[in-house]
């Protein structure tokens, strides 16, 4: 058994925390876990990603092309960069939210308008998530990472209780309540 998950987004969106909770959950279920993340310069508003792999025995912390079971993209455009990593049977979960990259802000390049059309036409298992109203309800944009993890949780074998245990372990105490809310809100966004 082996599961490969890519979280991607823009520096500052919190992909590392989302993958940490996932790893903790997989570890508690007795799996081997590996992950790879990005620090330093790339984090300053650049594209970021976290690869998480769990299973009986995991070697590489990176996920090969065409081998990701799930790609969870916290931003629309970033999903396009990870398409080649998705397996044919894989599922893509994309947050319906745009962050303009610097070249777009400067008017040098255009933000593609047809991303959703492209994804709908080409990705068999696709969920475009509307998180805006959920985040408003939670009262923090910062919770997006855990909302997206909540959505992903519907596809994985772990129980709600197991997930919430990990949230409690991985998140700073004063944010636990908010993140549990975020997780459950994501989890109830349809599969």
């Amino acid at each position: 058994m082996e599961k490969n998950i890519i979280f991607c987004g823009v520096g500052g969106q919190g992909v590392i925390l989302a993958s940490k909770v996932l790893m903790e959950t997989a570890l508690r279920a007795g799996y081997d876990v590996k992950e790879s993340e990005v620090h330093g310069m790339a984090q300053r508003g650049g594209s970021v990603e976290c690869c998480v792999r769990f299973g009986t025995k995991i070697y590489s912390p990176l996920i090969a092309k065409g081998k990701a079971d799930y790609v969870v993209s916290l931003e629309l455009l970033e999903s396009l960069r990870k398409i080649e990593f998705l397996s044919d049977e894989g599922t893509m979960i994309v947050n319906d939210f745009k962050i303009d990259p610097v070249p777009v802000q400067q008017g040098v390049l255009e933000y593609p308008q047809d991303i959703k059309d492209y994804l709908n036409a080409n990705v068999n298992n696709l969920l475009i998530a509307e998180t805006e109203s959920v985040l408003k309800e939670i009262g923090s944009q910062k919770a997006l990472n855990i909302v997206m993890l909540g959505i992903l949780s519907n596809y994985l074998e772990f129980s709600e209780k197991e997930w919430l245990e990990s949230v409690k372990v991985c998140v700073k105490e004063k944010f636990v309540e908010m993140n549990i809310k975020a997780f459950l809100a994501g989890r109830s966004l349809k599969k």
Binding site: L80, P101, V102
Partner: protein, 517 residues
Amino acid sequence: MKKVLLGNEAIARGAYEAGCRVAAGYPGTPSTEILEAMAHSYPEVKSQWSCNEKVAFEVAAGAAIAGARSMTTMKHVGLNVAADPMFTFSYTGVTSGFVIINADDPGAWSSQNEQDNRHYARAAKLPMLEPSDPHEAYSFTKLAFDLSEQFDRPVIVRTTTRISHSQGVVDIGERKESELREFPINPQKYVMIPAHARPRHKFVEEQLEKMREYSYTSGINRIEKGKTKRGIITAGISYEYVKETCPDDNILKIGMMWPLPDKMIKEFASMNDELFVVEELDPFIEDYIKALGIKVIGKEIIPLCGELNSDIVDSALNGKKHSNSINPYAGTIPNRPPSLCKGCPHALVFNAIKKLNLIVNGDIGCYTLGVLPPYNAMHSQGCMGASVSMHLGFEKAWGNALARKSVAVIGDSTFIHSGITGLIDIVYNGGTGTVIILDNRTTGMTGHQENPSTGKTLLGDPSPELNFEALCLACGVKRVVTVDPIEKENLERVLAEETAAEEPSVIIVKRKCILKK
């Protein structure tokens, strides 16, 4: 107990369990989290950020020679700065365990080059261990302290970005306190005048041979037998890619990168019909094997530049190409380069510089992003502190007139690291240039570490704030001005005035990084 840890956290844990007493480093991606984890989780260890890697190295070496188990941490280019002490403390050896953590950055994710620091182990004649995952990062670090004492050698542990910044399951243990050993009065060992250095050189060579012997039987290197007659020699993160893509082949996994295990390599070669080396960056193992007279394929098929991954290794060794059957997106995908945060005080400075159309000698930090649009306001940059000394070089090449149209730009921490000496050189050698110190009260790029100008230590204790104005005045600069970049007009006026002045000047631009708590 099993825990998921970042490679860097695993190193901190290993050192902690080994009874490390003193840890000194300088922040640098991908090494920074080691000391942060140490300070955060293991207050028993005296951890500190030093002014630069050379200082950090010497603090830790001093502690180890004085009798306390010690560690120093830095990124690959940091070891260039610390290379001077490293080469000679290789001769002195240690009293208690001394471990040097060196983090290379293949792929230059957050660095100015992709140098392969395995060469340093060979050049400085120091043993080097190379872990393949976070668990080994932990266990090799722990082991390194024992080896350091057993063989009287500083021991380097080399990681790469994908070890330091990957998480994995680590089976941790308990701390064992180490004894504080008496400092032996032994100038033949600890004072390296030529008469002492010559015999120590012999000792160094002898110890390396002993360590090579050790590496045959200790399990640090291992042969994993497969089902084919194809042999692959590999190490570090590359081992994981090989295991992933060539599960049936024979593998010689190198855990001790220096000294390399001649006998084992020969034995392994004789087991196989074909021999390959899979290693990132330089053909370090490959050249060594070839020098033993053994035929091996390496860089003919494995790239010399950049990181490896399973895709590259599978394609090189097995001719397999990974992909899916999803149509790629046909349009242009705008790239998303890193950029200064919205509201970053550095942006105000670059806007002012751009307005005056100045040539900029830049340095290492968040502000290096001033090279990118919309600022396009950096024209040279190489290494820590180079902005200031290169600025003098520009002036020496073209005369004072150039100094009227250019500036050096350097951050607070970088200035303390190695900008000060350049400034003294400007004053001493008749330079007239302007140096801008971007004082944003933190070491930004690496994740907001404290430094001597922030008034706090790594452990959060208060410390005297370095006074840049007084320091620059003491260096002999008469024109020292402090400005707040939010006052745009004032900043532009000062910039115009100071660059126009026919004598050295320093502008301290003081405003807190918006991400600094």
